[in-house]
Symmetry: C2
Subunit: 352 residues, 2 copies
């Protein structure tokens, strides 16, 4: 491992940035599909849609509506208007991030489009926290979406084909999450971020993206812990994005091999989203909306109410391209870690 000695003031260790002003997450919102609402966290989401088409003519149009609804709901919950946002950062899984650009268009704010596959949620939070901390923006809207039917037909097989899914497959979450990061206001505080490297262990199976992402998740978590000098015990929860059961086990093993036992505090939004014994999702949930909706519905609440004092949220992405896959290429993974502290007790928020 190369330990770069950067001369940047707000940077520690190999790849972690620190936010001296500790930007606030002043609002979050989640909108999910019926299947997600039927899962263990069902009662916690802000809204559940009746059917995944949402009265639109295409799944893609429905995903735009989902994302726009989450964006507007995050504003409404904070009693803010779109013009109260200086910037929007948004990403999704559709080619050309079509959901983000069409939903973003309706809010009419300066817009940064990102692509980090399913890691987009914490990629957006990292960039948003940077902009707020540095004074480039007072409030930044961050928003991501995914949609089971749009993802299946773009990345694997249209659901109409009834293709059988292997046990390592995950279920792309239909939903959207949105949040507002601000320099003032109440809410959990973002203290650090560790943007990930592209890690590729040669996985080529689009039905096993958990295995493609697990090494990236482990790499980012290890970098974060080494850079900050922290141990897993310094966190009440370390939660990855959408590794699923298989990927979560791999990441746990990889971290154990480098001396970090994360198991007591480790969880994965993909395994939290669905009840895999009752719901036919195989390894769990995936998609940009998986970590965004689980964070917005459940983890954010845990932070606000003080049940979790310090969280490391690590959305995970598989940079899976059907084109390069068909050309024999493997699937690089990436993960962005964001450290978030409870607003209780007031300014400390750290674990004891």
């Amino acid at each position: 491992m190369v330990l770069t000695a950067s001369k940047a003031a707000k940077r520690i260790g190999r790849q972690t940035v620190v936010f001296p002003t500790r930007p606030r997450i002043v609002s979050v919102a989640s909108v999910v599909g019926r299947m997600e609402a039927d899962g263990p966290l069902g009662g916690l989401f802000d809204e559940a849609i009746e059917d995944n088409l949402m009265g639109q003519k295409s799944w893609e149009q429905a995903e735009v509506k989902l994302l726009e609804r989450a964006m507007r709901l995050s504003l409404a919950k904070a009693a803010l208007k779109p013009t109260d946002l200086d910037l929007i950062i948004s990403g999704d899984l559709l080619n050309q991030i079509a959901a983000s650009s069409f939903a973003g268009r309706t809010l009419d704010r300066p817009f940064f489009g990102i692509f980090g596959a399913c890691s987009a949620w914490t990629e957006a939070m990292t960039l948003g926290a940077m902009m707020v901390d540095a004074g480039f923006a007072f409030r930044v809207g961050v928003a991501v979406s995914s949609h089971h039917e749009t993802a299946e037909r773009q990345f694997r097989y249209p659901i109409e084909l009834g293709h059988q899914r292997p046990p390592t497959a995950t279920w792309t979450v239909t939903g959207a999450g949105a949040g507002i990061i601000a320099a003032e206001g109440d809410g959990p505080r973002i203290t650090h971020a560790t943007p990930g490297r592209l890690v590729d262990m040669g996985v080529k199976d689009p039905f096993d993206l958990g295995s493609a992402m697990a090494p990236a998740a482990a790499d980012t978590i290890e970098a974060h812990l080494r850079d900050t000098g922290r141990t897993p015990e310094d966190y009440d929860r370390i939660v990855t994005g959408d590794l699923g059961e298989a990927g979560k086990a791999i990441a746990t093993d990889l971290l154990m091999e480098v001396g970090f036992n994360v198991e007591p505090v480790f969880d994965d939004c993909g395994t939290m989203m669905f009840d895999s014994r009752r719901q036919d999702v195989h390894c769990g949930g995936s998609g940009c909306a998986c970590s965004a909706a689980v964070f917005s519905a459940a983890l954010f609440r845990d932070l606000v109410e003080g049940r979790v004092k310090r969280l490391l949220l690590v959305s995970t992405g598989a940079m899976f391209s059907p084109t390069t896959y068909q050309q024999g290429e493997s699937i690089p993974g990436i993960a962005y870690a964001v450290a978030i502290e409870s607003p209780k007790p007031a300014e400390q928020g750290g674990v004891g």
Copy 2:
């Protein structure tokens, strides 16, 4: 127009951010295809490839090589190693930004993937300047690519079909541009950035993206001038990314309508890249690499040598999705403006 009074310290007017430390562009590199090398700027590019396949088995693999070569060349020209970069920000036109993720993988640095279509170059520069100015990074690599054959088959028709192109069509540049933005060193200075809004005037023709992007370019340039209190005369050059002949004329007219006569200083990288009378490119060049390569080969040199004291570079993107287009949707445009000053005279750099 809504003028937001943001409370953010490094923000002025509606949507412009200022960089008090004026980050340096310490290195740039450009690699282009044979057709680009045959254009008016041919002698200025760092490298020209012999054929667009570059000895690879697919156009996409060739694009990865192009981008990686530009990244490594920008490092070599500054006598830096990949580990000297704190972060890489990269985007391209391929679905899932496949060129960026595979090229970025080889450099093994923390990575932010972006998607702004052909506006990716100044989107990346804006984010890079923010990170360097704020102290989140000491050096940031920014890099984008495009490739005629990968773009045509993904967005329109595979070139093997011999589809006839209408007069409003532009020619996607085969090439890549890369740069290094740093807190120290010699080079042109980035003083402001104006990230764009998604502007959609209802254009639905994938062979007329200049018309789709022109309103976005005009919107961002207008916002930049109003936010900074500057006039077009304060710039030696205002240069858009890839509007082409048709889009450039529309943007000029739109800016005239709101009181800004940019014509004396206005140009477009798409019209600079090719000789449209001699080369069969219709309205000019386009693609992420268009503004990146023209900037890296020509405009950067003009700044360094003092021929241009102050440049407003405005890469332009059409958020064109074949899927949503087939569903009847229009094509939103976006543009990011970056103000860059010559390092001569030493610390002033402004026009007289």
